[in-house]
């Protein structure tokens, strides 16, 4: 089959051809970028935090009428209240371990700072950014973190201090990502670092494989895996406890936590949000991303459906219009399959032109989005896959009208329409 007569025929339907090609081009451009956004969101949502997330939950509570000063007596009183809570929670039958902690990955409440190799250099001097987790000797087992080098904290390491006390810890455990950034040779263990521009040295005693920062916003992208663990109980008029339930006993442990705390000390506020499973924390953190991915997915599907319907509609019209010509061709010896192929080929030509324009539009749209939104460069594979999809879509859509065309009997040629 030669293309020449087909293109000559298409010239007589310029408007329709341009419209189908344009629709395919726009669909391709939008769908490629939307699918790319979906892919990015899914990748973000699925990245592991480094924690063993099953059977883990968090209790946040606030005392009423607790000492509010930063003087030693108030801080000691707050610490003894926290210790009493820890003891009560640890004695629960369904609880495996408990660690006091200032935040958790994905919780969106963070304490961030910087780590330097020299004293007196803070973040503005261009050092590694990190988030801090303050906890005690049970933190690794409670969160299920993997220690890859060095040692865990012991009970003797653990200090306590007021929330706003700026003293840094003398030892820390940090993530491998942060350690490798500071010590690219991989010999971070036992090295001395300086936190937040302090003059006091801090020693790295252990490395964990992976631990995410609490923030999920784009502002944390530069230090997502840079976490530092300090063996410090923070004392304030509120506290958070990460609790690992015994396997399969999560619901029971969550249920028992609130009464146990009230029994220890009734002067506190615990509301609906105070006891939260890690699964809920994760769902909440990524809800917007998941919502956006679903929306984009639905829009893509509808777009493809609308485009397919448009092709069916316009091709049906052409088939109706060319009824007689088809009859003539059939009468002159063309087989059914020749007519079918003619319409399929015609669609392929139009769709290919649309795909080429769509390729350019997709790249242009991606550049526009990169300029105005936080978005990466669209990988070529997305566009190529998109082209295959729209060509297949065109072939699928054209099949029904094309088959109808191939069923036009040759006798039509002799009849007036």
């Amino acid at each position: 089959m030669t293309l020449h007569p087909m293109i000559a025929a298409l010239r007589r339907h310029k408007a329709g051809v341009v419209l189908i090609a344009l629709q395919i081009a726009l669909t391709l451009a939008i769908v490629c970028n939307a699918v790319f956004i979906i892919g990015q969101r899914i990748q973000r949502v699925n990245r592991p935090t480094g924690l063993d997330e099953s059977n883990l939950f968090l209790v946040s509570q606030q005392w009423v009428g607790a000492p509010s000063g930063d003087d030693p007596a108030s801080v000691d009183k707050l610490d003894s209240m926290q210790q009493a809570d820890l003891a009560a929670l640890r004695s629960l039958p369904d609880v495996a371990s408990v660690a006091p902690i200032n935040s958790l990955p994905l919780l969106n409440s963070s304490w961030n700072g910087s780590v330097a190799l020299q004293p007196g250099k803070d973040l503005r001097a261009g050092n590694a950014r990190t988030t801090y987790y303050f906890s005690d000797e049970q933190v690794l087992s409670t969160l299920g973190l993997h220690l890859v080098a060095g040692r865990a904290f012991t009970a003797a390491d653990v200090q306590h201090q007021a929330m706003h006390d700026q003293r840094g810890p003398s030892i820390v455990i940090m993530t491998k990502a942060l350690a490798d950034k500071l010590f690219p040779k991989g010999d971070a263990l036992g090295k001395v670092i300086y936190l937040n521009g302090d003059a006091a040295p801090t020693t790295i005693v252990g490395l964990v494989e992976r631990m995410q920062v609490p923030g999920v916003g784009s502002w944390t992208n530069s230090f997502t895996w840079n976490a530092t663990l300090a063996p410090t109980r923070l004392n304030a008029n509120f506290s958070r406890y990460a609790i690992r339930a015994k396997p399969g006993r999560l619901a029971a442990a969550m249920h028992a936590a609130t009464p146990a705390l009230y029994a220890t000390n009734p002067m506190r506020v615990l509301d609906d949000d105070s006891v939260k499973s890690f699964a809920d924390i994760r769902a909440e953190a990524y809800r917007a991303d998941v919502g956006m991915a679903i929306l984009m997915g639905v829009v893509c599907l509808i777009l493809l459906a609308v485009t397919a319907a448009g092709i069916v509609g316009l091709t049906s019209f052409w088939v109706g219009q060319r009824h007689r010509q088809i009859g003539v061709r059939r009468a002159l010896g063309a087989r059914k399959v020749d007519i079918l192929h003619y319409f399929q080929m015609e669609n392929l030509v139009i769709a290919s032109v649309g795909a080429v324009i769509g390729l350019l539009l997709a790249i242009g749209l991606n550049l526009l989005l990169m300029k105005h939104f936080e978005m990466d460069r669209l990988p070529v594979i997305y566009v190529l896959t998109g082209i295959v999809v729209v060509l297949a879509l065109g072939q699928g859509a054209v099949f029904v009208p094309a088959r109808r065309a191939s069923n036009v009997p040759p006798v039509t040629a002799t009849r007036a329409v």
């Binding site: 700026q166 777009l303 019209f317 939104f373």
Partner: protein, 434 residues
């Protein structure tokens, strides 16, 4: 003539139901998606105080040390206690208020209600007249109350309903953090959106339930929340925040004329220079004085995802329209012979064009109604979302009208090319081929 065209249009649309349905559904989907996202965008980028926003300003000065100084840097987004109090007491604006947010435990007198935490705003007397805060009962506190650390509180209507069943509670006592406060006023449902005066606590979050003088809140060490930035020897210790080199307060000023705004900026410059001479500021004076909407723009309060969704929806609408143009073209050209007869019987090109546009407009109207229904469904889905702006997503009258205009305008636009092409038929040729 119009009713005749309408009749023709309806007959023609009825003749090919599948094609008509496809066009209507395509327009409805495009319109529904665009209006949903546009409404959310419209709600989120609205002016929280339309009557006053051009007179409200957010002064920014740079009190930081030279560590990490870059000349092109923006000044911090908040002020220190020392600067805030200095600007407040200078009284250079028509109104000015210093503030921060927090949460306090409320201990209700009734034993039936457990103690709970309520979001609080710690501010100064001018907050209420400056932001035109409507009061249901009572009055705001005065600057004398600020100076005397008075134990007075204004509560939101919602909290008043919860604790006092909506009765006038002025004069009653409210216990917070083990201290007794006298209620002197109740706000009448006030929720500026975005929550412009403090963008640290959720841009579209619900507003605070209790309003307490800043001085009193500091004296009683009420829980503070929001963002704090420190430098140099600044520490975050709650006890010495007043002296610390940390920015943690918001300062707003009302300036009733552009001349006053220019003078105020000059004053901020002088203030910075003076502080630099005193050695407290180290950087060259760097002042800004954005007005309310300028401040919201600078902080990009409208979430990027919402803008992205609006773009996506308009791309979607565009594809739906191109689709409709194609289908209408097919439909109108198929009727060439019928149109040829009309032309031969004396109808002008213009009349045929008008007839076809009526048909396109009918499709647009049907699509618009469908789109409106879809927009209602879409907004209902948005309201089901947990984001803090979800409850704001409602269609108002201007957006309702905009929906219809967009639908009919879009479909007329889509009908122009097909109608014009169909008008070009040569009557003789069409009659002959029949």
């Amino acid at each position: 003539m119009f009713s005749y065209y309408l009749d023709l249009a309806l007959r023609s649309l009825r003749r090919n139901k599948a094609l008509t349905a496809l066009m209507v559904v395509a327009i409805a989907l495009g319109i529904g998606a665009s209006m949903t996202t546009l409404t959310v965008l419209h709600v989120l980028s609205g002016d929280p105080l339309p009557e006053k926003s051009s007179k409200l300003f957010y002064p920014q000065i740079d009190p930081q040390d030279m560590d990490g100084y870059k000349p092109q840097d923006d000044p911090p987004a908040q002020v220190t206690w020392l600067d805030g109090i200095a600007l407040l007491h200078a009284k250079r604006g028509d109104h000015q208020a210093l503030m921060t947010g927090g949460a306090v435990p409320v201990q209700p007198a009734q034993s039936s209600i457990e103690p709970f935490f309520e979001d609080a705003r710690y501010t100064t007397a001018d907050f209420f007249p400056m932001f035109d805060v409507p009061l249901l009962f009572g009055r705001p506190w005065t600057s004398a109350d600020d100076d005397s650390h008075a134990r007075v509180v204004l509560i939101s209507r919602k909290l008043n309903d919860k604790l006092f069943q909506g009765h006038d509670s002025t004069g009653q006592t409210l216990r917070m953090e083990d201290a007794a406060f006298r209620i002197i006023g109740v706000l009448d449902g006030w929720r500026p959106s975005p929550h412009f005066y403090d963008l640290n606590s959720g841009n579209y979050s619900e507003d605070e339930g209790v309003f307490v003088p800043l001085t009193t809140a500091r004296e009683l060490k009420f829980g503070r929340s929001g963002s704090m930035d420190c430098w140099g020897k600044g520490s975050g210790g709650e006890d010495d925040l007043e002296a610390a080199s940390c920015v943690w307060l918001q300062f707003w000023v009302e300036l009733d004329s552009p001349a006053k705004a220019a003078a105020y900026k000059e004053y901020l410059l002088h203030y910075s220079q003076e502080q630099k001479t005193l050695g407290r500021f180290q950087r060259p004076p760097n002042v800004r004085l954005p007005d309310l909407m300028g401040w919201l723009d600078y902080n990009k309060v409208v979430p990027g995802d919402v803008r992205l969704q609006a773009w996506l929806a308009f791309g979607f609408l565009l594809v739906c329209l191109v689709n409709t143009v194609g289908l209408m073209l097919a439909k109108f050209l198929r009727r060439s012979s019928e149109l040829g007869v009309r032309r031969a019987l004396g109808a002008s090109k213009r009349a045929v064009f008008a007839q076809l546009l009526v048909e396109a407009g009918t499709i647009g109207l049907a699509g618009g109604i469908g789109g409106l229904l879809l927009a209602f469904v879409g907004l209902w889905l948005v309201r089901m979302q947990p984001s803090d702006y979800a409850s704001l997503a409602r269609l108002d009258l201007p957006m309702l009208l905009a929906t219809f205009l967009l639908a009919i305008g879009a479909s007329l636009l889509a009908g122009l090319l097909p109608a014009w092409r169909a008008c070009q038929v040569t009557p003789a040729l069409q009659l002959k081929s029949n």
